[in-house]
Amino acid sequence: MTTSDLIGKIIQVLVGLAAFAAVLGLVLFFIDRAPKKGRDVIQLVAFLLPAMILVAIGLVYPAIRTTITAFGDKAGNFIGLDNFVWMFTQPEALVTLRNTVIWVVLVPLVSTIVGLAYAVFIDKSRGERIYKALVFMPLAISFVGAGIIWKFVYEYRPAERDQIGLLNQILVWFGQEPVLWLQTEPINTLLLIVVLIWVETGFAMVVLSASIKGVPIEQLEAAELDGTNAWQRFRNVTLPSIRGGLVVVVTTITIATLKVFDIVRTMTGGNFNTSVVANEMYTQAFRAVQPGRGAALALILFVLVLPIVIYNVRVMRQQKEIR
């Protein structure tokens, strides 16, 4: 990077920010001086329209286009359901779907359970904040960074040499042969899943910890006076009252898992039968130049996310009615 490059970049950012501020400032300046008659409408338009236009051209229109593309071939001719037939019949596409299912089952389940257990264990303990920060930290890290961190843990060296990956070293300590983790099926998919669990547990822990602190202390004490043990109290008092938090956690993690892309891309590139829908979508659309197949996979992603969101919205409504 030369100095002139750097200056060019700084100028770009400044020009971008200045242009943005200037346009907004002008618009707001003029709507305050708009003729009294239509002022309300003009003001509404000025406040709302920029966001609405962006959303329309950036989300609504593309979503419709992608839906149409999913039913076409490379040249855009209508081919009906062929892309979906490809998805559900070709072995390599089926592996992708199978992997996605494994991801979606394991990640929300394990990270919610571990996150909940951890949140309960550290609740009101000494050093709670440090405990939280340690498990929470991966959430601030990019998936790419997380991928590299774990690739290092899984690194392989032939048995006659010193291991530099922690996992293989542990095997060696126990007298086993080191394994080429990321190339070995089916364990490699599970090891990629570990990375996302590592990230999402922190999220589950923070949200659930906040819900646990909201459990009425009187109920817990009352249950204790009734002679219940810690597990019964947890099962019968805590768990029902944090149901809302659990729903949020599970649905959010499920959606994040469905869209997982960076981890697979960084660690295996989708090779060795580790691909998932979101990664395959990218590969098909941008590498294999099969926009129809890519769009069909994106559409499947949408269809998978839809029921989860609907359920979430319904639970939210119910809770509002109870209040």
Partner: protein, 330 residues
């Protein structure tokens, strides 16, 4: 009234024999305390184990990034006491080395910043304006439109990538070329596409969250200002924005981290050159092509982690608040 109120026992704890009750209760809590101490010991051990497992991978990477290349390649970081040796060469190499095989992360680092800062400011400003309109300007279809925006969150960005890229190529590319012709110091590939893409993808959630906050500003405050003759833009800048600042701040942290850590949007819209591409993209590339260069990958990964970790540890409180409010983003 408070005179007559005896300390009411809790509903679940109400027992007929009041005098013995206290003794029993004392006994119970004593037993309970012992039991609690026992369970808390297992709990402490369990949480220690989890905390250690969660921290070790990052710690190993951090430690390795300061070890000389030769040692990283031949020995594990846990043998650091048998094989001591620390160096900053890895960081010097990944950040500043100008040899063509070096990662040259310096310029990608600048790109990450140049992408993240505007891509945080733009959507926040636009979203708070829209949220204000939804909350305090009455118009037909306001409710329906708001629900529609909320629903847009479920469109996976994967669905929007291809058409958006096509639109950018036809509409934005010529404009960028003209700017380049007029002001040569600004390259042909600019951040513009990445900025716009991130702004668009952030809007639905940002509007939703900020609306929740802005609509809870007491209506007396707004009405009073209106009576005083404040225009909408005065209201927005002088009353709504200052009051909504905590919500805006926590969303800003989120958006910043999200953009900084993003790979997919960068891959599609940045073109992949050192002019525009962010750190994540460069690192993903290195991890794929030069997966054995651990002295570069470890240092490079930490270069990319350092900004999020600083943001995270210094602004953790706001981060958690934003998380609890916005736990619907996928």
């Amino acid at each position: 009234m408070s005179d007559n109120v005896v300390d009411l026992p809790l509903p679940g704890a109400a027992k007929p024999r009041d005098t013995t009750f206290e003794v029993v209760a004392a006994d119970l809590t004593k037993a309970g305390r012992v039991k609690r101490r026992l369970t808390s010991r297992t709990a402490t051990i369990a949480s220690l184990v989890i905390a250690v497992i969660w921290t070790i991978p990052t710690f190993g990477l951090l430690l390795s990034s300061f070890r000389p290349e030769e040692l990283i390649r031949t020995t594990g970081w846990w043998t650091v006491f048998q094989n001591p040796g620390f160096t900053l060469d890895n960081y010097r190499d990944v950040l500043f080395s100008s040899s063509s095989s070096a990662p040259q992360l310096g310029s990608y680092f600048v790109n990450s910043l140049a992408i993240s800062i505007p891509a945080t400011i733009f959507p926040l400003v636009l979203a708070s304006m829209a949220a204000y309109a939804f909350a305090w300007i009455k118009f037909k279809w306001s409710g329906a439109l708001f629900v529609f925006i909320f629903a847009l969150q479920i469109v996976p960005i994967q669905m929007a990538l291809i058409p958006l890229l096509q639109m950018f190529t036809t509409a934005l590319q010529p404009m960028q070329e003209q700017i380049h012709a007029a002001i040569p110091i600004i390259p042909e590939d600019t951040y513009l596409q990445v900025w716009i893409a991130h702004t668009i993808f952030a809007l639905p959630l940002a509007i939703f969250l900020l609306h929740n906050f802005i609509s809870e500003i007491p209506s007396e405050v707004i009405e009073a200002a209106k009576v005083d003759g404040a225009s909408h833009s005065q209201l927005f800048f002088q009353i709504v924005l200052p009051l909504a600042l905590p919500a805006i701040a926590s969303f800003a942290i989120f958006q910043f981290l999200w953009v900084w850590n993003d790979l997919l949007v960068a891959l599609v819209f940045s073109g992949g050159t050192a002019d525009v591409a962010p750190l994540t993209q460069r690192l993903a590339e290195l991890s794929g092509n030069r997966g054995q260069d651990w002295q570069r990958l470890t240092a490079g990964a930490f270069v990319s982690l350092v900004v999020p970790l600083i943001v995270f540890f210094s602004l953790q409180r706001y981060f958690v608040r934003g998380l609890l409010a916005g736990s619907t983003k996928g």
